[in-house]
């Protein structure tokens, strides 16, 4: 996984609440056995018209937001299915950070496994960022994971929380299977104990 570096990027405002994973990546694209190339299908049903052409009204199709690297979203972003195709599609499109008042748990976890930073902020701060994002490509948000801040184009800064271990993994681009396997002795010990205590499992 690539290291997550601080960046300054265009943010697309998507104020709709409960943006679900079926919206993010419709089920017809789940039949791939690869993780790459899904960006073109991100938000497919909202992004394309019935004839396959782009819907000019959809945010990410407008010139200002075609190269967005951040989404500022409504409450409960990523609810629904556990499909990791949702973060894969987001990442492949070029989005590296999603900001909302809340995220669905499974989507939230999946983001970190794919080098995407989900940021939870209170409503008032998301409202400020949403307004800033609405200014289009001239307004860029600064995302600084090291110092845990988001800064608007007008210089207003908000601090966010992130789990220290997840932050470390994002910053270093670490594969956590490798990290876990370093603890194989502890896993062996636990399993030996568990199979004595509960031999029926």
């Amino acid at each position: 996984m690539d290291k997550f570096e601080s960046f300054s990027g265009v943010a697309a405002p998507m104020p709709l609440v409960n943006i679900d994973t079926d919206m993010i990546i419709p089920k017809q694209f789940l039949k791939t056995i690869k993780r790459s190339g899904l960006g073109v299908n991100l938000f497919a049903e909202m992004r394309y018209l019935d004839d396959g052409s782009e819907n000019p009204d959809f945010m990410l199709n407008t010139p200002a937001y075609r190269n967005a690297e951040i989404i500022v979203a409504g409450d409960n972003f990523g609810c629904g299915s556990s499909r990791e195709h949702a973060p894969w599609a987001i990442k492949d499109f070029g989005i590296k950070c999603v900001i909302a008042t809340s995220f669905a748990d499974i989507f939230f976890n999946n983001c970190f496994k794919n080098g995407i930073l989900p940021i939870v902020l209170p409503q008032e701060q998301v409202d400020v960022l949403m307004k800033d994002a609405e200014k289009g490509s001239n307004a860029r948000l600064d995302i600084d994971l090291e110092n845990q801040t988001v800064t608007t184009s007008e210089g207003e800064s908000f601090a966010f929380e992130v789990d220290p271990f997840r932050k470390h993994c994002l910053l270093e681009g670490l594969d956590d299977i490798g990290l876990t396997l370093e603890k194989v002795t502890s896993i062996d010990g636990f399993e030996a104990q568990a199979s004595q205590a509960r031999p029926w499992v």
Binding site: V17, D22, D105
Partner: protein, 421 residues
């Protein structure tokens, strides 16, 4: 797997469900190329890594959340994970069960562990008794209607109370299945005699002395009377009515006797979301829910594809026909459910009523297979998600119980099943 091995293949099961057709001949060839490649890859991986596997040619194949409990893989006190959000279903056995993404599946396969932080806990108590015509599906939808789809985020729910205790294992699985629609990754119910009776004798359940040892431990798996809860929700069982959804989020739920709500009745971002939902659903505020005409009925899914669900629907359909022009489909949750329904004569009731009698799979719950809605087609569904496009692009989904779906199939519109009992 990057050259790694599966750490515990004996504790790992696999079954094709999401993308398989539910029509005859699928064990010979799956016509859709992408699905075929995906299923072939699963076949090969299951074989190469020595995982317990139920291919489509096996009568035990079905939806993973139905197969796991049916085969006795799911036991009280276990931690169960699966790359599907409806893994919460297994919580019905007093297991901690939740959905994970592909990377986490890989992590579990390689290490048999998962890095987790402790969730908050929520007690959802359903007191008293359910009225006739009210089912587990109405309980779980009503809870989501109360908490909202994000109300359970960060929590594990424990469902308890007299009305939960009175449910069969099938009903309990329906309740826990939809914990995720309320935002909770896991929902569970303390095991009791109902649980033990269900588990006993299943192929992978413990036997003889091990059964006794397991029972001794399982009986200790309940919350203390003075346990701390981060959130408590109490609903009187008597207050729960048969419900349906009107919008595009499972929280958009109302008793069947109600009317389509006005977006202005909501607050904040939900006002826009409700406007968008009514537009997508082709509905006008103030319309009685019972006046909503439907085109299609889907009975099945990991929420309501078990034998008890088929019995409930068949009880309403017995001796009746579905409305002219209606498309209606029953998709049993597993090959064994299907066989049992045939033995009990339920299949004949469905077929005589005009339903298609399908093979097991996820089918029209998520339209990742040939079973899909067309744009504008309106469906009474026993599944779990009414999201935009969930059952097919432009398709309109109303969620409800199997009995309610059966009633709608007969009348051609959303119907209060209590009027047909």
């Amino acid at each position: 797997m990057a050259g790694r091995q599966v750490r515990a293949p004996e504790k790992t099961i696999a079954v094709p469900d999401h993308n398989v057709p539910t029509t005859e001949g699928r064990d010979k060839v799956i016509e859709n190329e992408d699905s075929r490649i995906q299923v072939d890859a699963l076949d090969k991986n299951a074989r190469d890594f020595g995982i317990n596997y139920y291919p489509v040619s096996d009568v035990r194949q079905g939806i993973v959340h139905i197969v796991g409990p049916e085969q006795g893989w799911t036991l009280p006190g276990m931690t169960v994970v699966c790359g599907d959000s409806h893994t919460a279903t297994h919580g019905a056995f007093g297991a901690l069960a939740h959905g994970i993404g592909t990377s986490e599946v890989e992590h579990v396969l390689a290490t048999q562990t998962l890095i987790q932080s402790k969730s908050k806990n929520m007690k959802v108590e359903i007191t008293g008794k359910l009225a006739p015509g009210v089912t587990a599906k109405d309980i779980t939808l009503s809870v989501i209607g109360k908490t909202g789809t994000a109300g359970g985020t960060g929590y594990v729910i424990e469902y308890c109370g007299e009305a939960i205790r009175a449910l069969s294992m099938e009903g309990r699985m329906t309740v826990c299945n939809m914990a995720i629609e309320g935002g909770a990754r896991a929902g569970l119910i303390a095991p009791d005699q109902t649980t033990f009776d269900y588990v006993k004798g299943r192929p992978h359940a413990p036997k003889a002395a091990q059964w006794e040892a397991a029972m001794d431990w399982w009986k200790t798996l309940y919350s203390d009377d003075d346990a701390h809860w981060d959130k408590v929700i109490t609903i009187r069982g008597e207050d729960i009515a048969p419900v349906v959804t009107w919008g595009t989020s499972p929280e958009d739920v109302l008793p069947i006797t109600d009317v389509v709500p006005a977006p202005e009745a909501f607050k904040g971002g939900k006002v826009e979301a409700a406007k968008r939902a009514l537009d997508y659903m082709g509905l006008t505020a103030g319309t009685p829910l019972k006046d909503i005409k439907i085109d299609t009925v889907f009975i099945g899914s990991c929420t309501n594809g078990r034998i008890e669900d088929l019995r409930a629907a068949a009880a309403i359909l017995k001796g009746k026909k579905i409305k002219d022009g209606m498309r209606a489909m029953v998709v049993p949750g597993s090959g064994l459910v299907r066989a049992q329904a045939e033995e009990e004569g339920l299949a004949d009731i469905f077929k005589e009523a005009g339903f298609e009698w399908r093979l097991a799979g996820c089918s029209m719950c998520l339209a990742m297979n040939p079973d899909q809605l067309s744009p504008g087609e309106r469906c009474a569904a026993t599944s779990n998600r009414n999201f935009e496009g969930r059952q097919g692009k432009g398709g309109r989904t109303h969620l409800m119980s199997p009995a309610m779906a059966a009633a709608a199939a007969i009348t051609g519109h959303l119907t209060d099943v209590r009027e047909m009992m």
